[in-house]
Assembly symmetry: C2
Homo-oligomer: 731 residues x 2
Amino acid sequence: MFDNQNDEEENSNFHLPKMKFSKDELKTIGSLFKKRFTTISKTVVTNRIWLKSAKSSSCHVLLTFPKNTSYDTIFTIMDRILKAGLIVNVKQHKTSSTVGFYITASYERLLQGAEDLEIKKIIKTNYGGGIKEFIFDEQEFYENIENEDLFLTTQERQSIIYDILYQIRCDNNDEQIIVNDKKVPNGRRLIFWCQKYKIISQILPIHDQDDLKELRKNWVFSLFSNQPLDKVCKYFGIKLTLYFAWLGFYTKSLLIPAFLGLAMWLSMGKDEKWDSIFFLVLCSFNLIWSICFNDLWNQRCAELSYKWGTLDMKENLLQDPRPMFKGEYKLNKVNNKLEPHYPEYKRALFRYLITFPTLLAVTGLTIAIMLKMFDLQEFFNHATTNKLLPELMGLTNFIPKMIYANIISFLNSVYKRMCTWLNDKENYREQTTHENHLIVKIVLFQFINSYLSLFYIAFYLQDVGLLKEQLFAIFITRQLTGNIKEAIFPYIFENLKQIKKIDRVAKDEKLDIKPDQELIDNVQRLQRYATKFLEQSSNLNTEKADNYQEEEIPSELSQPEVESLMPNYPDTFGDYLEMVMQYGLMVFFAPAFPLAALFTLFNNFIEIRTDAFKMCFLYQRPFGQIVSNIGRWQDVIETFSILGIIVNCGLLITFGVIQKLLPSVTFYESVAIVIVVEHVFLGFYKVLNYSLPKLPRWIIVAKSRLEYRRREALRTLEMNEMHNIKCSSNN
Amino acid sequence: MFDNQNDEEENSNFHLPKMKFSKDELKTIGSLFKKRFTTISKTVVTNRIWLKSAKSSSCHVLLTFPKNTSYDTIFTIMDRILKAGLIVNVKQHKTSSTVGFYITASYERLLQGAEDLEIKKIIKTNYGGGIKEFIFDEQEFYENIENEDLFLTTQERQSIIYDILYQIRCDNNDEQIIVNDKKVPNGRRLIFWCQKYKIISQILPIHDQDDLKELRKNWVFSLFSNQPLDKVCKYFGIKLTLYFAWLGFYTKSLLIPAFLGLAMWLSMGKDEKWDSIFFLVLCSFNLIWSICFNDLWNQRCAELSYKWGTLDMKENLLQDPRPMFKGEYKLNKVNNKLEPHYPEYKRALFRYLITFPTLLAVTGLTIAIMLKMFDLQEFFNHATTNKLLPELMGLTNFIPKMIYANIISFLNSVYKRMCTWLNDKENYREQTTHENHLIVKIVLFQFINSYLSLFYIAFYLQDVGLLKEQLFAIFITRQLTGNIKEAIFPYIFENLKQIKKIDRVAKDEKLDIKPDQELIDNVQRLQRYATKFLEQSSNLNTEKADNYQEEEIPSELSQPEVESLMPNYPDTFGDYLEMVMQYGLMVFFAPAFPLAALFTLFNNFIEIRTDAFKMCFLYQRPFGQIVSNIGRWQDVIETFSILGIIVNCGLLITFGVIQKLLPSVTFYESVAIVIVVEHVFLGFYKVLNYSLPKLPRWIIVAKSRLEYRRREALRTLEMNEMHNIKCSSNN
């Protein structure tokens, strides 16, 4: 629903926003480091700047324009926003010399929007209780409707405002908005079009300081307590919270394999036969654990989404299409709304004739290149150990690795771009379907990228020692540095960037360099228009509209302005990808490296808090998104569990487990035994997966009950209708 | 919903009713054969007897009692049936010297019952059209309601009457019904209890001669035209029709593999290399064909069940529990009906602690016995060829086969009894769930029974010649004789049985042996009571009640009486089992025997008509049952498709296909190649199965639309309710 990114910026969905510093900037950063050793204390200062910034309970969403946007364009957009019933405060942004719209809405307008978004709210107990979609005309029935602050959470308000903005459509009067000599097409979504052509640079929801403070205390820094998921959900929305819920559940589930793995590791190395038995035990345990983990998570997930009111998601065709969905405008036969239609066969043709072959070709190429690089590495290793090459301080060993890393990183970025482009071309109607298909495509490549070298070592070189070494390196080094790379470094860099910008403003003020007078004039003209518009349309809340007029304290930056300098949170995609790949690593190689689960547990224990840290310190607040489960990631995890069985059985051969246990068996017979074991395990997985319940009993009852009431309601309604027809035809 | 069988008679669900003739009977049959060479013409005569028999459009369901049931018991039951609003005619059955209730109901009572059964009917176009559950109070809105004969099909009438009978509950007044000194327990379903304790011997719906005639002509004997599925569905109900629809679809789908197989077979045997390539082609084709077949059938099945109004089945908890479901009576939280409850954990405990181990033990034992028998056979074969044993006219070779067949048949019957008992103990709530679990259990054994010897030959003996020989024998001999065994023989035997009984009646009449005078008196007393009851309760249709009083022509048997002599149709279970096992045979061994598909096609082409023949000539008419798909059979078929890949890959090794294609490859390497091929095929199956659409687009739209309207209806209704609460609290 919230396509923050437009299709030209697809990349930012998958990795951290790139921080490119110009040479001058790098110098500045360097000097900052040199001048002050107390960088950390400085970042805390920035943080304090933000906290001190002007409270803006009335600003929910900030909309910023890029530098040099023409006054007419800004005016037209503001006019349309005002006409949509929102309240706009215009403010000059000193750090970037642009204009920012501080958008909020009256309670009434928010409630109207809540109906459009079908936000579920509690019914007063004397009217029967329960949770129902909000209906504006029937507001009296809802709990807490009288209390403006209690009824809608800040996250809901922001979603409503975003939805109102998103609903604005271009019309013929928007002639002022011209980009590259192209006028806004009639009927298109104004905001979306403007974002696409970079007339609007950012739309971001603003943090609520009180709630954020609480989350920082009880979530980020409460290392040993349960995550306050309800509060997180209320503040960040369900999609993000389900990620953290999954991560927490995964981490807790790791306790048992971690303990078992540790016990095995401690008692290993004494007797080859026992080692082999441990290996077999770990393989079997792996299988049972992964089935239980997935089944229990499915149940937990259903419980959470039931609690948060999204389990009963509408069927795909009842959902609104995503903004990027293209097609001929036709009536949706289901709910009679006019919306784009795209024929299924075109999508299928594209998918099977273009996407499939392309991705297969690229992954095939990648595999080929990687295998060649491994060969090269082998060659160099061989040459080095036999002293056939001059030893340039170990460089000979390092060269192929460097080449390899660069090629992979290049292929990775090409592949990601390609996937996103192909997925956009496949043109899925719903946001979830779109994301699900993207997940599958990206995971395909990441799978090869992450595991091919390990598979190569395990099954081609069959080098047990090297495999263990590699696993040790991955589980310890990579995981621990990962958190630092992901959260601590960006935090420091981003703070440095902010410091720089704020410093510049301060310097400008010290030097008494006045900002662009034209800009100031424009801001005042726009603000005057907005105030007048509000006064004319109603007598409501005009004092709020003046909020920002009053507090013109030049040396203090507004909280929204500070937040607009922070990086945009690039969706849960990257976080899931990291965790899923780690899950794969564990189910594939745990028997070969019994400590895998323990290290993973330890890493995830920290990961939860660093990811929470990212949300509460590093990034802009994201818009809340509605989902009912973790989507295709669940399928990926389950597929990894199945592949885990196959890989584990492969390891049985590599490690010669069967032959150690049954020395009389030939190699060929041991392979036959492993193949039988594999098929039995796979069959067992199927059977267990099939016979375990997918939903907790009480949720099945609750769903059936709702279904029953819907059926009965339609029956009653239709009978009434027929009676009406009869009465009218009788009269 | 229609548990025709009670739990003591579980066997008859799975095979044809056993035809045990006493010695005297066998003599009679023998003499009949000897005396008249024109047996066939005689069976046609019986058939004519039936057609000539008194027309009974007013008798829908026949209920018969066993010999020697006391008058009081019969009277009590009749009284309860009359009080339930049904019309009963009592008639003496000459062939079995018992009493038969000829049950029908007034149109009004049928319509009331139609509401209880939630039968879907068409709404008049001027009231909006569409199909909706029938509601008695709103009958004016339904199409054809004025036309008694058009509105309800005979199948629907019979289902309604069965449902009314089934709803009758025992009360304290039923003191006359005593079995083994046990009184009818209060509150239990009378009819169900009586069937269980054999106080009622049969409840059967009666054929409609006109419709049956048409079906015989257009279905059974129209070998080359499409099956008239709509008419079959109208007459026999959806469950049975879906079986025939599936069988027809399967047969048509076989055309392509049959053609391909024939082409391969014709061009085989010239060059070993080409044979191996054909083998590979058949394996791959097998895979793709089975995926397409299953996917397309799923779509077709959805279309059919949409057309016949069952796609939109209620969730399990909204369905009525099956009659045999036991448990504590509690309120169903979903629809607030009082019904038995059985805790899930008890079922799970039973399943995992008792069912699973028991079945595994028995199947394990069976496998062990079968393998031992194969060994024994080997030993005898060896002994015979080496002339170590005296050759008793080839008997030495025959002995182990005979022992084997007897053991298997014994194990089979033990296993079936055990499965049914275990499944009953697991106590599933819904009829479909119950059947689905039974299917899985039975298939497990049948799988071993049907395929183990072939697997033994293919993978243990690795005897390609013997395998081909066996497949040839199975596909040609067994399949063709199967149809004769299944339909033609039983038809002749059943007709002989009928002839015998009818002959005896005729003889008695000739000899002027009057039937039991007490019985005649009882029948008259009962009939008088029934007539009086009807006259008292209403002035409706009394002439109908007298129908059978009038036509007391002794030498002519009533149609219902003739039908009561026919065997009971033992559900679709056996038919599906046969076809599914045949499907497995084909997907497992088609590459080894390219003509498999052709012979299967030919067999099924006949099978459709012999099965139809069974329904229209051999068996009693069954009650219609409502399902939305072929249930767990679909899963069994899909599992067989997956197993097919594994078996096919195994055959690649047995037949040495890889080594023939790549002579430089060692045996070990060829095994490795096959394993890789297998995994690629399995992965490919998964991917294709995952990405193919499960339902046709238009059905998704229709389902979503219904869902949307239900949601909207509940919303409207709830808002109205809240307004009502508000109004009443204001006043």
